[in-house]
Structures are given as C-alpha cells and as structure tokens.
C-alpha cells in the first residue's frame, strides 16, 4: 500500500464534497484524511485527501474521474516525497491535583510541541508534524492522563518550485476574486 495525497481545486459550492467523495466510495477506496478550506482566491477551495492504494494506475484513473466533475478546476496526485505536509494534533492533558506534573521542557525541546492553552485543571498541547511525529508525542504523553486527543487531516503543498496554484488557468480567475 502506498500513500497518495490528492489535491483538488474546486469552485466553492454546496454539495461538492459529496460529489467528490462519492467517487472514492464507488470504487471502495477508503479516505484516510480529508481537509478542505477556501484558498487565497475567493470562491476557490482546496481539498487535500489522503488515501492508501496498491496501484498507481488506479489512482491515476481516480484523479481523472475527479477532474471530470464540472466544478473541479484541477487535480493532482502526489507521493509523500513529492510534497511538504503536516497535520496538527491537540492533546488535552489533565493537570488536576494528584496527577503527574508535566515536563514542559521535554515537551518543548524534545518533541517540539507547545502548550497553547491553560485551563483550570488541564492544558492543551499542540503538535504540528506528520503522523509519525504526532504519535511519538502521543506515546510520550500517555504517561499523563490524556483527556482528549484530536488530529486534523493532512495539509500539503507540492515541492515543485512554483506551487500547484500556478497550474490553474489564472487568466480567468479575475472574475472569481
């Protein structure tokens, strides 16, 4: 199984998420993670979808089927070494009386994670990184009481110099800004 990151640029319209995910569902491809937000261009969204698949050919076909959706502007499929990518994880750790006291220095220095919120009897620690790095922090923090843990979907940019956005038909974008 190889991990692929699929970046999709679309018009920002109702129902598109559904139209895109149906294409995966119909081919029985599981979505590992999915992130969507509007890009720097108004009205244009960027999906980042991570899947695992055995066959590059099938992924290429999938990309072409996604491109067929009327509101889709561009689609790119990447291998991990072709992108810079990250996720964000938040850990809510109990600091109530009687729990083990937190070693913030190790968390900062060794794990490059930061306390971003102090509650009355808990803190929230944020870690940005790839899934391996995030789960290293998870393993470390398990010794404390983890009240909540959440991880975002992947975000990614291509390693090519210009960036994906350059591939879009920019000339026509004015009407969308």
């Amino acid at each position: 199984m190889t991990t692929y990151t699929i970046c999709i640029f679309t018009e920002n319209t109702i129902g598109l998420l559904n139209r895109i995910t149906i294409i995966f569902t119909r081919r029985r491809i599981n979505i590992e993670s999915l992130t969507v937000s509007e890009t720097e261009r108004k009205g244009i969204s960027r999906f980042t979808i991570v899947i695992k698949h055995e066959s590059r050919e099938e992924v290429e076909k999938l990309v072409r089927q996604i491109r067929k959706i009327v509101e889709v502007l561009a689609v790119f499929g990447y291998l991990n070494d072709e992108i810079v990518y990250n996720e964000i994880a938040l850990f809510k750790i109990s600091t109530s009386l009687g729990t083990k006291s937190l070693d913030v220095e190790t968390i900062n220095k060794q794990y490059k994670a930061w306390v971003v919120y102090w509650g009355l009897d808990y803190v929230v620690i944020e870690k940005t990184g790839n899934d391996t790095e995030i789960f290293e922090v998870f393993a470390y923090l398990k010794q404390y009481e983890i009240l909540e843990f959440v991880r975002s979907g992947r975000v990614a940019v291509g390693k090519t110099e210009k960036g994906l956005v350059e591939y879009l038909p920019e000339a026509e974008w004015e009407s969308y800004m």
Binding site: T10, E11, I14, G15, R19, I22, R67, V70, E172, S175
Partner: protein, 581 residues
C-alpha cells in the same frame, strides 16, 4: 392647500412600476431562449407554479403529458438521440423525481443530453422531511453530469443556460436542476437577462486534439498491416459520420461498431464488417485478436465489448480517439490517445493518413462471415419449422422499410436480434439502451424519437416482458397522435434471462415465464390499432398493415418460445471464446 400646491413641481417624475417576473416565468423564458420546443413532463404540487406559467406559453412550448416520469425521461432520451439536442423533462418533487432516476442513469451511461427540471419543496422546508421532499440532489449526484438546486428566482437564467451548455457539450449527459417552490413563486429582483453559456472556468472540454497526438496516430495507422476501426456512439454524437467514411475509404480500413455505434455507417458499406460485443457478429469479435493497430473512436471499451479485458487486444497498438479524457486508459491502455471531438480528430487525421486498401486483411473477415451465415443467419431466416423467429420479423421489416426507419429497441433477445438483422441505411437510426440495459425503454423512447424526427418512420421492437414495464405510455402516444409503430416479439418468456438459465444454469428456468395479458385489447383500450400475427404466412401482410396504417399501431408477433441469440461471448470469457451455438 395652497402651500402644498406651490411646492409641488409641475411635472412629477415617475418611474415605471417594475415588471419583474417570477422564477417560473423566468424558467419559461430561459427554455425558449435555449430553443426548446418540447417538454416531457408530469405535474405535481412542488412544480405547480411552473405548470401555471406553462399555461401562458402553450403556443410556444409544446408540453407532453406522459403517464409515468420514467416515460418522460426515456422519451426525452429518444428525442435527444435523434435530434442531438437536449431532451427536457419537467417533474414534481419526491416521487416524481425518483421515478425519473432510472432514465437519468440510463442517459448518463449512454452519453445522452437531458435537462431535467425537478420541483422541490419551499426553501424554508428544505431538510424538514416535508411532504414529498426527497434529497434528489443527493440521489442524482452520482448519475448526473451536473446537478444544481435553485433556491432563488434570480439564479434561473444563469443556471438554465449552464445546464444546457453542460448537458450538450463535451461528452453529453444528463443534468438535473432542482428548483424550490419558493424560487418558482418569488419575483426576481432584477430584469430577466439571458446569456447563453459558452464556457465555464472549470469545465472546458477539449474539442480539437493536440497536433502531436494526431501525428503520432497517423504514423501508427500508416505503418499498420492489419488496422481495424472500432466505432462507438461518439461518432454519431459528434456528427462525424461523413468524416469517418472519408477516413475509412482513404485508408481502406475495416470498420466494426459497438451496439450504440450501429447505423453510423450503412450496414451495406463495403468497409463495414459488423458489430462487436457479447451478441455481436462472429468476424468482428474474433478479428480484434488479429489486428495490429486498433483505432477506437468514440467508444469506451465496455465489458460487453471486450469480454475479459485482461485478454483483450494484447497484440495490438491502440489509438483511442475520445472526448472524455477519463476514458483514456480506463479499461484498455492507449498507445496513442487522441483527446478531442471525433469530427475534429478525424478531420485532423485525414490529410495525414496515406491511401491504402488492405484488401487481403479485409477479406479475412469474410471467412468468418461465411461461417456465421451458414451456422446462424441462414437457418434463422429460412427454417420454416415451428413458430416465427425474431430474425425473420426484423429481416422482413428491414426489407419493407428499406433500412430507412429509426429502430428503437428494448432490452433482451429482441434487442440483439433487431441489431443483428436490421440493415441500417441512415445515421442515428438505432435508439437502444446500451450501457444500462433498461427494460421499458423502447415504448417511451420511440415516442420521443418520433416527436424529435416527425418525418421519419419510427419502429419500436419490444419484448413481452419489457412492454409491461412502461406500456401505459401507449396513452401518451395516442393522445399526441404520433404514428409510432410498435412490434412486440412475444415469446412468453423473459427470453434473455431464460437463455442464460438454459446455457449456464442447467435449464433451471427460475421465474422467467410470463402470464401475458391480451396486448391488442390493451392497445385498443388506449385507442390504438393493433393486431396479432401467429402464422409465418401472415407476417408479411401484418407488417404491411402496420406500416401502412395511418397513426400508431401495435403489432404482436408470437415467436418461437425457446430461441437463443448467437453468436455469444459468455460473460467473463475472452472475445476469442465467442460461441456459435
């Protein structure tokens, strides 16, 4: 009093009261701006405002009341297939829309342009499980080329123009517009302005192929020893029949068609070798394994054509001319993809290909023709034992109509027999449900085709099973005085399923025998003329009576009960394993 009079200006400037129209009237104007003449529809609560507006437009927009929304969809498909323009359906929310679903799916897979306008509950009721609310957007998302929900009357002109553009351009397909009742009723807040959509930022079908692809294709074709053209529906969609003929005649390359590709080229053209696929002709199937270069035009390597795709044309280089880039390499890897419209592609190729005649190669097909003739065709047409055979009916119909009719078929053995034995002379003459294989397609589609092509003879070939799926459309045909001729080939079985049971399930005829009604009495009940033919000796007269009848006519022919359609490539077998019996 005086004081007031003094301050009043002499001329009071008044603006004319705004004459804004409501969403339903906007829809009417939009349809007219698109040149729509005919709408196939069925009213109901959530589309009433549109029907109310339609009342004012009766002399400009011909609305046809069908008997079931599936019928509206198939009629619109028939209309679209013969005219090349989008068929328009108008139905209500909930059950109206869900009844249309089969036809929408059918249109998607057979690349047929439809614009389906569907009522929806008022905006404030959306998502409340209101009366007759169904998530039609969700339901139709995977089976439309595009769908959109209008919730504001102001959106109507832009969305309708987009709908027609998307349905009819590139690879055509069905588009669904869900319009809330509130948007139908509310007034636009600006003037109605209609601009025809010409392009969209994110959707730009490539019409003219890249020159380097065309050149690479020409090189391969010029060097080929045993080139072979496979033609799909795309050639007729692109109206590229003349270009195809010119290309084939210059290069001398034999042409086979898919089921939907039939009638692209006259059946008696010397370069035409027959049709491909599960029940296609013997030679065309076997010879795909002998070709060194396959030129596939406007076809998508459906599994009914390829059989086991992993064993299909391994020996050949493939040039795939196709407007939908997602079809390239989907089933069969293309050595040279040519992405573009078939007409543009063939025009670009024509000057680059060298004249040739490939006589020896072409003659190889004829050996197989002889075998097929001897083992199947001649016996089917001349064996006078037993009941009438489907083949005889189609053969005789073909002769009597000189191959000039539009043949609309349903799904099953009769469909395959109609395709085998009708000798098409003109393009756009076979309307059939290929990709979906939708039973119940023929009667409404024949009606729609007749509306779209009033000057042509339309003959529907229907199985006794299929007929009972949409027979209520007889009423539509009669009410609209369309001279559709329908032939039921009655074998008292769900014949095609029975054939499979016979061949692959040890004759375990599980639920395939029908207790049929008296079809002619039913036709008469609808006010349609008809007769039954049981004897071979009466067949010719019966066909004449039907063809000469002024108006619609139902002819029931009682045919051999347990007849099989051969040749046949068993499901999952390779095309080389095609069976003659």
């Amino acid at each position: 009093m005086e004081a007031i009079a003094n301050v009043m200006p002499e001329v009071i400037e008044t603006k004319p009261a705004p004459t804004y129209i409501n969403g339903s009237h906007a829809l009417m104007k939009a349809l007219l701006a698109e040149g729509v003449e005919t709408i196939f529809g069925y009213p109901g609560g959530a589309i009433m405002p549109v029907y109310d507006a339609l009342y004012d437009y009766q002399d400009q927009l011909n609305h046809i009341l069908v008997r079931h929304e599936q019928g509206a969809g198939h009629a619109a498909e028939g209309y679209a297939r013969v005219t090349g323009r989008a068929g328009v359906c108008l139905v209500t929310s909930g059950p109206g829309a869900t009844n249309l679903v089969t036809a929408i799916a059918d249109a998607l897979i057979d690349s047929t342009p439809l614009v389906c306008i569907v009522g929806q509950v008022a905006k404030k009721l959306l998502g409340t499980d209101a009366f007759q609310e169904a998530d039609v957007m969700g339901v139709t998302m995977p089976i439309t080329k595009w769908n959109y929900q209008i919730t504001d009357a102001n959106e109507v002109p832009e969305i309708i123009s987009k709908a027609f553009y998307i349905a009819q351009s590139g690879r055509p397909g069905p588009v669904l517009i869900d319009i809330t009742k509130s948007a139908q009723l509310e007034l636009m807040t600006k003037d109605f302005v209609y601009e025809k959509c010409q392009t969209l930022i994110s959707y730009r079908p490539r019409l003219v192929p890249k020159q380097e692809q065309v050149e690479a294709a020409a090189q391969l074709i010029n060097a080929a020893k045993r080139p072979y053209i496979l033609v799909g529906h795309g050639v007729q969609i692109a109206k590229a029949e003349d270009e195809l003929k010119a290309f084939a005649e210059k290069t001398g390359i034999p042409i086979a068609t898919t089921l939907l590709g039939q009638s692209t080229i006259p059946t008696n053209h010397p370069l035409y070798v027959g049709w491909l696929g599960m029940h296609g002709n013997y030679g065309p199937n076997v010879m795909t394994d002998h070709a060194d270069v396959i030129i596939a035009i406007g076809m998508r390597f459906d599994d009914r054509v390829t059989g086991d795709a992993s064993k299909y044309i391994k020996q050949a280089k493939v040039v795939h001319i196709e407007i939908d880039p997602a079809e390239i390499d989907k089933i069969i890897r293309a050595d040279v993809p040519v992405v573009g419209d078939a007409k543009a592609a063939l025009n670009a190729l024509l000057p680059l290909v060298k004249p040739n005649d490939h006589t020896v190669w072409r003659n190889e097909f004829r050996k197989y023709d002889a075998v097929e003739n001897e083992t199947i065709t001649v016996p089917e047409l001349t064996n006078t034992n037993g009941k009438i055979r489907m083949a005889e009916v189609i053969d005789m119909l073909s002769t009597k109509t000189k191959g000039e009719s539009i043949l609309v078929t349903d799904v099953g053995q009769h469909q395959m027999m109609a395709s085998r034995y009708y000798q098409f002379r003109r393009p756009n003459s076979l309307v059939t449900s290929g990709g979906m294989g939708t039973m119940g397609f023929a009667l409404p589609a024949a009606f729609g085709a007749q509306v779209g092509a009033p000057d042509r003879q339309v003959v529907a070939i229907i199985g006794d099973g299929c007929f009972q799926m949409t027979l209520q459309e007889l009423g539509t045909i009669v009410q609209n005085k369309q001279p559709v001729k329908a032939i039921i080939l009655n074998n008292n079985f769900l014949g095609m399923v029975r054939q499979w049971q016979q061949l692959f399930h040890e004759r375990r005829y599980s639920f395939v025998e029908l207790q049929n009604p008296d079809f002619i009495t039913i036709a008469k009940g609808f006010g349609m003329a008809g007769q039954t033919c049981t004897e071979r000796d009466n067949l010719s007269d019966a066909l004449d009576t039907m063809l000469n009848h002024d108006g619609p006519f139902l002819l029931e022919v009682i045919v051999e009960k347990e007849e099989n359609v051969f040749p046949m490539v068993p499901a999952g077998a390779s095309v080389a394993q095609i069976r003659l019996k």
